[in-house]
């Protein structure tokens, strides 16, 4: 008969119990979770616009701008850490530099199997988009990111309670009309802003066209305006012309698809965390956060990989065969 091991309690059981207790105490006595006010457009921190441009309109200080600043600072610090680690002359890095090196190597190998001789043109876009989106998605989950903020007057608001100093907490009691407050968080995940995802999508698609022109010359545009066979064989030439027009529409569809894929995944994660946090605050949000981490990483990878694949397709002509 085989030996079965005795079941033991976990090694970190006191940590887990301590965190449960801390959560319970903070939920009952300090800050009761309520369902926050969710809106698709990022909320304004200051209610007056910062400046006004003549044609474009007002520019407000929005939720996602401090978060974008934080993401940029984190990426710059990562780059500085890598620079300092490489200065010692040690060829085998340790610590965070090792992780970044592994990441860059995996991405470079993936690019090399698809792109062949155009790897040096395509890889920077893939890696930049991947690192930016993955850091943006991971900083969204830090506790306190989407919960600590400014109180604003609102029509369907809640009452507040003073915690000390200038800090208030919101009670789950509906206030009288016109007297309540809602929280506008200081930070909100950057990828939940349609402006950010639209900008990344536009950059990806426009740079794809530019890479195509750089490698194929002006003949790249014959993908869209295909008039080569329209005089020799009119019927097939006409179909080729329609296919070219369809390619043009497909480019616009790529912009929309990039934008809404990233925005949809991240925004639905935000809504899910908000609702789960107000309904089952003690243990269930942990599972949601794990799911969020996974989905954030996958979406970053998909965005970068699609950009890379489209760029590689742009370097290949109409009748060429791919060389690997």
């Amino acid at each position: 008969m085989e030996k079965t091991s005795k079941w033991k309690w976990g090694k970190y059981r006191w940590w887990v119990f301590g965190l449960f207790f801390l959560t319970w105490v903070s939920i009952t006595y300090i800050a009761v979770p309520i369902q926050p006010h969710i809106q698709v457009a990022p909320e304004r921190i200051l209610l007056e616009p910062l400046f006004t441009l003549p044609v474009l309109g007002d520019f407000y200080l929005v939720n996602t701008l401090p978060a974008l600043l934080l993401v940029d600072i984190i990426i710059i610090l990562m780059a500085l850490a890598v620079k300092k680690a490489l200065q010692g002359g040690n060829l085998v890095p340790k610590g965070i530099t090792a992780i970044i090196e592994m990441l860059v190597e995996v991405l470079y190998n993936m690019t090399e199997t698809s792109a062949g001789k155009y790897t040096k043109k395509v890889f920077p876009w893939f890696a930049t988009i991947f690192i930016l989106v993955i850091v943006a998605n991971f900083t969204k989950i830090i506790p306190g990111m989407e919960t600590i903020g400014v109180l604003h007057h609102s029509d369907h608001g809640y009452e507040t309670k003073l915690l000390g100093g200038n800090w208030f907490t919101i009670l789950p009691v509906e206030a009288h009309e016109g007297d309540g407050y809602i929280v506008t968080p200081f930070f909100r995940g950057v990828s939940t802003d349609l402006n950010f995802t639209l900008a990344l999508a536009l950059i990806a698609v426009i740079m794809t066209q530019i890479v195509g022109v750089q490698t194929q010359g002006a003949g790249y545009f014959s993908k869209f305006l295909n008039v080569k066979t329209i005089f020799k064989k009119p019927a097939l030439g006409f179909i080729d012309f329609l296919v070219g027009f369809l390619e043009l529409i497909s480019e616009v569809a790529k912009i929309l698809s990039f934008t809404f894929r990233l925005f949809g995944v991240m925004f639905s994660g935000t809504v899910l965390v908000a609702l789960m946090g107000s309904m089952l605050p003690i243990f269930a949000p942990a599972g949601i956060f794990l799911f969020e981490l996974f989905m954030g990483a996958i979406q970053a990878f998909v965005f970068g990989m699609l950009t890379m694949v489209f760029m590689v397709q742009a370097t290949q002509g109409h009748g060429e065969h791919a060389e690997h």
């Binding site: 698709v40 809404f260 925005f263 949809g264 639905s268 990878f301 998909v302």
Partner: protein
């Protein structure tokens, strides 16, 4: 009465627009079936197949996300 009718219509619209996620579920199931078949026939190709499967799942899920975006627009924006 008018405001409540509009609110009820918003909820019904959001619920109806999520029926489109059915296609994504079926698509992801077919994808994983194909990937598992390939991995069972050829266990050496595990890494390659896994990467391609994850990429395909993200594509199929994007369609469900479009349905979700329309539902959100109905609930929170319009």
């Amino acid at each position: 009465m008018e405001g409540e009718l509009i609110q009820a219509a918003k909820f019904i619209g959001a619920g109806l627009s999520m029926i489109g996620a059915l296609g994504a579920g079926i698509g992801i199931g077919l994808l994983v079936q194909g990937a598992l078949n390939g991995m069972a026939r050829n266990p050496d190709a595990y890494g390659n197949l896994l990467t391609t499967m994850i990429l395909g799942i993200a594509f199929a899920e994007a369609i469900a996300i479009y349905c979700l975006v329309v539902a959100f627009m109905m609930l929170f924006v319009l």
